[in-house]
Symmetry: C2
Subunit: 133 residues, 2 copies
């Protein structure tokens, strides 16, 4: 039967929230060293401690996009193996972009924090403020 009971991997809502996050995650990992697609899948799972998830259908297109925009470079390697791997490495441009993404991420997080905080001590003490007729 279809999974109605919560825990089953990331929820729809969560997925919506995660929008745009994947790029940050992938670039962050590649920033610590080159690796191939399938490896990234596993790494995110591990490093995200079950709270982050990236699907193949998301990852591969993203990698291609990042390559097209010159943020990463790809190279096939099959040396001691039959099944070749496509290794990705971050470029200088990619690092710049990552920096930007990080800033925007913390900005967003701070904005949310700020908002939730402001709400508590401003709105509650400051009623409708209906302009006098």
């Amino acid at each position: 039967m279809s999974e109605l009971t919560g825990t089953a991997s990331v929820s729809r809502l969560r997925r919506e929230l995660a929008r745009g996050t994947v790029e940050l995650v992938v670039l962050s990992i590649l920033n610590t060293g080159r690796c191939y697609g399938y490896e990234l899948l596993k790494l995110v799972e591990q490093a995200g401690a079950g709270r982050l998830e990236v699907k193949e259908g998301t990852l591969y297109p993203l990698l291609h996009r990042l390559e097209d925009t010159g943020q990463i470079t790809a190279s096939w390697e099959a040396v001691g193996r039959t099944r070749p791997r496509k290794y990705y490495a971050i470029t200088a441009g990619g690092r710049g972009h990552l920096q930007m993404l990080r800033t925007e991420w913390t900005d967003l997080v701070n904005g949310m924090q700020q908002l939730l905080h402001t709400l508590d001590d401003a709105r509650l003490t400051d009623p409708p403020a209906e302009e006098a007729p």
Copy 2:
């Protein structure tokens, strides 16, 4: 002329990151007290301290969606004014949903933090780990 120069409101990337956030923001505000659409627009701007932004084209459809799913209720009020306002109030269901959204938000933030942290001390000290042939 079109605005090419940076600072002009939230960037495309940022917008991608903000996906799904708006719902959390709106419900959070409504949780502190009822208000009308146009007011929400201004409140987000204020409370978000310029780091958050919601556009009309985003807000109104969202409010309708939230109403349709019973998370908020609406009521027109035009008492001492000609131009009527549509006031929104959060429901019990909405509060439940908000709770969930908050959990998922902090979960995501924590996941990111965890990932970035793990990356620093795990990946860098732990080279490719190429399986021995």
